[in-house]
Assembly symmetry: C2
Homo-oligomer: 157 residues x 2
Amino acid sequence: MSMLAIKSRATYLTEMTPLPPPDMLCFALYSTAHRMQQTYKPLLAPLGLTYPQYLLLSALWSEDARTVGALGRELQLESNTLTPLIKRLESKGLVQRTRDTGDDRQVRVTLTDSGRALQAEAAHIPDCIARETGMAPDDLTRLRDEILALRNRLSST
Amino acid sequence: MSMLAIKSRATYLTEMTPLPPPDMLCFALYSTAHRMQQTYKPLLAPLGLTYPQYLLLSALWSEDARTVGALGRELQLESNTLTPLIKRLESKGLVQRTRDTGDDRQVRVTLTDSGRALQAEAAHIPDCIARETGMAPDDLTRLRDEILALRNRLSST
DNA sequence: GTAATATTTATCGTGTGCGATTTAATTGCG
DNA sequence: CGCAATTAAATCGCACACGATAAATATTAC
């Protein structure tokens, strides 16, 4: 048996150059994140929301009336992404954008009644997603934390 | 101590509605995948490549001269994404698109000399990324496989 | 108090992803 | 053979992400 044949997959992961995409950790993240969005799509379509829009509303449902900057820190997005996203939610009548009293540079994003009402219509989604993964809650939490640990190691922000 | 206070995080993950984004598994995937692309960016910039372009070339470096459909199955992308992506690589002179002899519907994507040469210039990248994660090869492989297991459970394709 | 600096958000251009549809070619079935 | 059904790519439109930059306001230094 050759040396190559007995190499562990772990060794293979760092030594082979280049790996095909299916073996790359980055591709696992990339393709699974996209698949997750596909899983959300049929659940969000009845609410007329995209996945990033749902994330932004989830942030506001947890804590309303935050500035663009504060939302960006939570969602890890910059104003060049957030401003158009928030404006689309505003045009749907779900949020309102108002200049902060005291600091006119800041824009505060606030849920409308309609935006708050949507929370109830979205309440079933987390359970639906958990069910689709077919994984135990403990496993989901553990995997989430391992992925976040990786993100934090890559973190420049 | 209230019942709520002693709930495990796992219970919390499925019971609280809605979770704030930082607690959502989907958001861990979403934000970590984006962070990973940010990590690749300075390594790919000298080669003039974006991250999806690098993925496509990696696929071809593993197995050249494949059809759009075959590449799509590997990268989990449809022709509406792939066709423009491949055309941008073609305009950089890295790949060539030719109609298949025998089935004129299929387009075969082949590396040019220049595209093949780029493999050597990208050879250091996997190790750079592995180093940036600060994780042991075994851990990287295990995490990759857990993420892929999740993707496969979500898989409709 | 004012000029320099910093902070916050917005704007613009490019490159994805993807739903929906179209075009072109092949296959299957009588 | 003849033609409907299928398949492979491409096209179009929309919504992100993000680098680079600009515009507006606030803070700091002097």
